[in-house]
């Protein structure tokens, strides 16, 4: 972070970051075109901004299509990561109303607000969530790759719990689509409260009046947070 920059410099910086964020999301949804971006952007000078960013080596403009160059993609990924981690933090820890989350997250996403190491600490604290509360992926940081546990995580796998603890499901992290469908049809859905009944010979959890037996392979995919 650089505290010696002028207000104007920070303003320019923010404009670029807003644009990078918009581009990332458009590409995530299938592709970014100059038309689409200028329409969506709140920046009155969007078209010029894109040109500037091209000459700064952040993006490439190719017959109306916009793609990231390496530096641009890296910066955009960091912004998105900050934004979505912030969303997780606000929704899981502070339980901020859904309407307000977006507004706050937009402020927190800028590099001059949240630094890299702070973002990594929050990410660890939240148990390295794979998605934001809206289900969009959070780009991985160094901390996720190392899966560091230096900060005691607030959100952890069901397998880390003690028998008898009552927790709230925060997210389910699995690479199998069918598994998500199966678990959700049994009531294992983010937001539901579960109680861990036993861990051996299989996991037994209680959701409402249902008792479910599940294997440790599944239990480790279920991420939960203690209820206060």
């Amino acid at each position: 972070m650089d505290y010696h920059r002028s207000k104007e410099e920070i303003f320019e910086e923010d404009r670029i970051e807003e644009m990078l964020e918009l581009l990332w999301m458009a590409i995530e949804e299938g592709g970014a075109t100059i038309d689409k971006i200028t329409k969506r952007s709140e920046d009155p000078q969007a078209a010029y901004l894109l040109k500037d960013m091209e000459s700064a080596g952040l993006i490439s403009l190719n017959s109306g299509r916009i793609t990231f160059r390496e530096t641009g993609e890296k910066r955009a990924g960091e912004i998105i990561r900050r934004h979505r981690i912030a969303e997780r933090l606000l929704s899981e820890v502070f339980e901020v109303e859904e309407k307000e989350i977006e507004e706050h997250a937009c402020e927190l996403e800028h590099s001059h607000v949240l630094g890299q190491s702070v973002v990594n600490s929050i990410c660890t604290f939240l148990g390295h969530p794979p998605t934001c509360p809206h289900g969009r992926p959070i780009p991985k940081g160094d901390c996720c790759r190392k899966f560091s546990l230096e900060v005691k995580p607030l959100v952890g796998s069901l397998t880390d719990l003690q028998v008898g603890e009552e927790v709230k499901i925060v997210f389910i992290s699995t690479k199998y689509h069918a598994r998500l469908d199966r678990l959700s049809s049994l009531g294992i859905i983010p937001g539901n409260i579960i109680k861990l009944h036993q861990k051996q010979p299989t996991y037994v959890i209680r959701i409402g009046e249902t008792e479910l037996a599940l294997d440790s392979d599944l239990a480790k995919d279920i991420f939960v947070k203690k209820t206060s």
Binding site: E29, G30, T131, G135, R136, P137, H177, A178, R179, L180, D181, R182, L183, S184, S185, L186, G187, I189, P190, G191, H197, Q198, Q200, P201, T202, V204, I207, G208, E209, T210, E211, L212, A213, L214, D215, D217, L218
Partner: protein, 655 residues
Amino acid sequence: MHSHATETLKKGEKIVIVGNPNVGKSVIFGLLTGRYATVSNYPGTTVTITGGSCNLGGNSFPVIDTPGINTLIPMSEDEVVTRDILLNESIKLVVQVLDSKNLSRGLPITIQLAEMGLPFILVLNMWDEANSRGINIDVKRLASAMGTFIIPTIAVEKKGLKELRDALSEKKYPSILINYGSVIEEGIKEIENILPESNISRRAIALMLLAGDESLKSWLKRLINYPDITRIESVRREVQEKFFEPVGYLINQIRSKRCDKIIADTVVKNRIERNAITIHLGNWAMHPVWGIPVLLVVLILLYEFVGVLGAQTLSELLEDGLFGGYINPYITMWADSFIQDSFFRDLFVGEYGIITMALTYSIAIILPIVGTFFIAFGILEDSGYLPRLAIMVHKIFKSMGLSGKAVLPMVLGLGCDTMATLTARIMETRRERIIVTLLLALGVPCSAQLGVILGMLGGVSFIVTILWAGIITLILFLVGLLASKLIKGDTSDFVFDIPPLRVPVLSNIIIKTLSRINWYLKEAVPLFIVGTLILFTLDKIGVLKTIEVIASPLVVNFLGLPQKATDAFLIGFLRRDYGAAGLYALSEAGLLNPNQILVSLVTITLFVPCVANLLVMIKERGSKTTIAIVAFIFPFAFIVGGVINFVLNIFGIKL
């Protein structure tokens, strides 16, 4: 009560009962139709559909009972069955049975039914269990939220049945509707335009397709052309690309949130500290430490009841008392004096006579054993112990590379392997269905066989009993391990409901036992007679002696058994319990020593259970797989028997 369309149910229109697993659909079915469908306290009792008819005001309506489902997007074969009925049959009324204490599990299905545009009513079963847990449901409010009739019932006590019958005469189209957000809704609209007309609404089918339901593919192929299928697929992909998480999962979440809201508005929960003995017992039965003594107690009681009371006391009473003391001598005497022709006399009362062999074996030896076993097994089923047993042995199955879910069909195999082979449908992958079918056919003794074996072993020694059980378990484990390494494919996720431990209802145990005994008499006894007739014929035309001589290197030299044991193995091809009964008779006659008992019992246990099982295997797994399994099993059974004989001899072990 409500302002929605209602019309009177017309004569002959189908009523379908659906709902989550283990909520009492089959009990309701039985009450409506007077037909008995197997009822138990574990999920997955019904894996096929059962039909019956219900009389309402002088008119008869077909009623269909279906396997339990948690969602109408199927993941295993039993779930496909239910969805396909809704899709293909012309249904006029759906009766959804819900567990009153567990509305959050049932209501997502309700929403799916409403989306399908089918008329339905809701039955809130186990109303008493909800009450005893402090759950109060405002039925009127819930009814108006869903827009349909809601009938609270306690099916096992026949409470609420009259109200249900009254409600059946009217058709009601529920009003609940969900908005899935603009992206999914647009996808629905696009797919709706492509879909053909069918029994259920296009919207419901579009939602299933968006959720990635593969099982609909073949249905679609029959009704629309290839470019349209590709268009649907591309709409699905477009919608999916807008989300990171699978669309099916998002849809489930949206439904679940809506249900939670409905529940919050209509259900009040008071905290009641429950301290019933069944709760503690239920917890002990799946506890990592206490579960083991509980299992031992269950096994000891089972042995005392079936092995001692059934196989020894009752069997002796019938065999020596009734058949040996009265029926056989009397009929033999009668036959001697009235049937001049020795051929026909032997047909009834000879060595391989229908009365002296088939009926003596089946009625005197096996019936008391299967009878007591059916009672014991019925109690175990209805108590809810079996799923807990599955939890206890899950680790063993996991180490074999199988999902613990495979435990349930295997345990049910102890009742009847044929039914258990059907239950293999609850497994989600083909690989596991094949392995479970193989293990059932190979080494899980069914009630009849288990009873005969226990009866035989009870008279020999404890050591032989343990050895037999140990060898069979070891073989099942090794073959399972090998099969799961050889057969490629996925493993199902191990996750299932644990029903509460309940005190079994006496009347259900009685009905269930009687219906199973009825099945045994109708299906097994005729097969015993056929087997006896085959032996009789072979004996009369002199082939039996030849077979015994030909088989002698195998039976006498390799297995170290008397030549007569060949007969037991021969009829063992028809039903292995019949073969076991033949061995039982040999052992009673003092023709088998403990070593031979062990060898012969292990061999016969590893036979294919019975002809009925074979037919079900062909139906469920196809003839190719079945032939492969059978071609493996029979030689394998003899090889194992021979190896045991060899080991016993080489070490000079006398059991």
